[in-house]
Symmetry: C2
Subunit: 141 residues, 2 copies
């Protein structure tokens, strides 16, 4: 697939389940009680358990890897602004939009040559259309 165009966009949607959050806590070791302890979370400012910020960011990472720029993309940077909590039961839409394309000289020949540096706007929205995550990524592909 060739270069992606300025303004091109792609998204995925995912239901954030209790099982997802517990599995994410397990694999990362991040057992912050706002994620895994119902009683604690009830008394926190959130009122109930929320998903990990890194989990929300991983939805962006997945859009990048699967769709835009796609397979084999290399993540160089990601700015993450966690704007609102993501609750268990939310349906999150992760959206990536190309905001800059810089063609690159090809490095030493490999099967997966790098062809451009992309700057991407990266956003997530919940089922109410509220923005829960905003940021920018730099990716090579």
């Amino acid at each position: 697939m060739g270069l992606r165009a300025l303004g091109e966009t792609a998204f995925i949607e995912r239901d954030i389940t209790d099982a997802d959050v517990m599995a994410f806590a397990e694999v990362t070791g991040d057992k912050n009680p706002v994620h895994v302890d119902e009683e604690y979370a009830k008394k926190s400012i959130f009122g109930r358990r929320i998903a990990h910020g890194a989990m929300t960011m991983s939805l962006i990472s997945r859009v990048i890897a699967e769709k835009l720029p796609g397979r084999g993309s290399i993540y160089r940077s990601q700015a993450c602004l966690f704007m609102r909590p993501v609750y268990i039961g939310d349906k999150i839409r992760a959206v990536v939009t190309v905001i800059e394309v810089t063609p690159k000289a090809l490095p030493a020949p490999t099967m997966n040559v790098l062809a451009a540096k992309y700057r991407l706007r990266t956003e997530c929205f919940n089922q109410n259309g509220e923005k829960v995550f905003d940021g920018e990524a730099e990716v090579l592909k």
Copy 2:
């Protein structure tokens, strides 16, 4: 526990195993072949499979949740610079350092009141002392 001091630091170390990377791919759905496909990764610029950037970031999230500022911390933002690949078999040290403390007025009474906004330097190093991740986080606690 009271306010954390400027310059205070904490870390965790984790061995990045094949099982970790496959589990992370499964729970996040991010199956970028540089993470999960040995043949593809061999022909990529990395030469072998690497861990997800979001997985490296989740080590920082874990230090924040477990140690500094600690239990119940709320993640507001994270800048991520993925400086070098993290390979399967690497031992990663994730380090958090307080670079700014801003005491906050307490919000409506809850059991877990917020007491300060912290700006943190967030870094990860591999077993050779090479920096693989750099960035900053903003956290409420």
